[in-house]
Symmetry: C2
Subunit: 302 residues, 2 copies
């Protein structure tokens, strides 16, 4: 019999969804004496020292940074949530892209003044979007971009697996990738190779009409270089859901930077109805002694 501990803000919902599945040889427990853990990395990390019999941890998040602290044990298999955030990420990114083209804030301001504003909106059709990172989320964004008639550039370490990307760039081609983009979207995982990937040099390569969107990881961006680019109008706008430090500190320059839209790490929240199937699928493999999906490499960080 396997013993599952759930450490999640949505523990009740997960318990209901998992109970309903009647998985074989599985008991949900409320004790440190467990071999399987499902939950948020931020809740698991402080407890992991005393969970001495764990063999597998399934994260409800894509990012597992709290569990990568070198001071913490690594004698278990860690899997993350993958392949479930593409739809929500697409709604977030294209919600803000369309808000920009359709001038949704400007039109609303005109309305509040009782003004019939005839300014012609723009269109996504024919515009260029650059995806920094083309994993499952990038592939979902590329698909939506093609739906709206955009041209898609992708920047990856080496992979070229997504058919909706029109042109790939790798390694040192970062500047050629950024040149002539209308939209740059950052969806790389947080690794040593992606830290401050969006720096002053990359931002300077973007045309001044470009909009930067970051629903990925705050560590991938040099925030002061970004604030500079916006302040000096070398960049039209930034839409930011993630930051180096969250919540974004009250005195942070980005609160006072013009043409920034800030959301609070809510672009793609982990919903139990999306994540429970990932755990259930993986549990069946675990019980059958098969390799698990979405295994995290502690060194690579994803």
């Amino acid at each position: 019999m396997h013993r599952l501990l759930i450490l999640s803000r949505h523990a009740d919902a997960y318990r209901g969804l998992i109970d309903a599945e009647r998985l074989p040889d599985l008991e949900i427990v409320y004790s440190d004496h467990c071999d399987v853990v499902l939950g948020e990395p931020s809740l698991i990390a402080p407890a992991i020292g005393r969970l001495s019999s764990i063999t597998w941890v399934q994260s409800t998040w894509a990012g597992v940074e709290p569990l990568l602290d070198p001071a913490l044990r690594r004698d278990y298999v860690l899997t993350n949530a993958r392949g479930v955030f593409g739809g929500l990420m697409s709604e977030y990114v294209f919600g803000y892209l369309l808000a920009h083209e359709r001038m949704i804030f400007r039109k609303h301001a005109a309305q509040q003044e009782g003004r019939w504003d005839a300014a012609p909106p723009g269109t996504l059709k024919g515009k260029q979007i650059g995806l920094l990172g083309v994993g499952s989320i990038g592939a979902a964004l590329a698909r939506t971009a093609k739906h709206f008639g955009m041209r898609v550039k992708g920047y990856t370490r080496s992979s070229e697996g997504c058919a909706d990307v029109d042109e790939y760039f790798h390694g040192a081609e970062r500047i050629a990738f950024a040149r002539d983009l209308d939209y740059l979207v950052c969806i790389v995982p947080n690794t040593s190779g992606t830290r401050r990937l969006v720096d002053a040099e990359l931002l300077a390569a973007l045309p001044p009409r470009a909009v930067f969107v970051n629903p990925g990881r705050g560590a991938a961006v040099d925030e002061s270089a970004l604030a500079d680019a916006l302040q000096s109008r070398r960049l039209a706008c930034a839409v930011l859901d993630v930051f180096q430090h969250e919540p974004l500190p009250p005195d942070h320059v980005l609160w006072r930077t013009p043409n920034v839209l800030i959301t609070s790490h809510t672009a793609a929240l982990s919903a139990p109805e999306d994540i429970a199937p990932v755990f259930i699928d993986n549990y069946r493999r675990f019980a059958a002694g098969q390799p698990l999906w979405h295994r995290v490499d502690f060194e690579a960080g994803y």
Copy 2:
């Protein structure tokens, strides 16, 4: 030799695009002595009385109301612009749908207060959209709705031609169509059969969470019933691009109604680069004596 008169705010752009095509037997003229007219119905209507030799008028708009005035001549073939607005309409409608789900205005207000707002946004996935009218624009909206994982209900006179519509309703089934919708989008043409199709009864059938979007024709809506429904919160929100009278008069109740977003008939502007190919294609048929595309029935009104 055919003689073409262009009556458009974008006459220069149209002339350039048509000249570049080197159409056979066609001369662009600046005289009432012409047999073909291309332009905006609002500019053609006041001139049509003296254009005594016209045989064909190509409208740059989808709507041709100014030319349907029974006092005006009808001894020519009238064709409208069709099949070119689906992409722009889709960007307009889904821009506002995503703004609603992603709480774009609420998140912006939180940001302006320096507040880290953790409220979880919604998603289009699994929501129901109802399309009042399923022509080429409705088909484009249905396709985008399916892309975002929505369920699509369609209300038409009789046609059921779009595979992206999950369920069709006709005639007296208007109330069954409206019940349980998250979004109602009105894209019917302005005809005697669609006038005030969106009335108090239809609005009362919508659930209070519903959002009404009208990028179609103002005449299709009973505006005071709509204002009532919004004022009494029997409807969550309305996004309106068209009105009974445009520009919307300064004293109109909709300027002061809560939860209305007003745009100024800019959802899908006629761009010469989109419309010129419609004219060019039709001209080749005209010159060859073939029936023209998108012929308007003066009685039906579309």
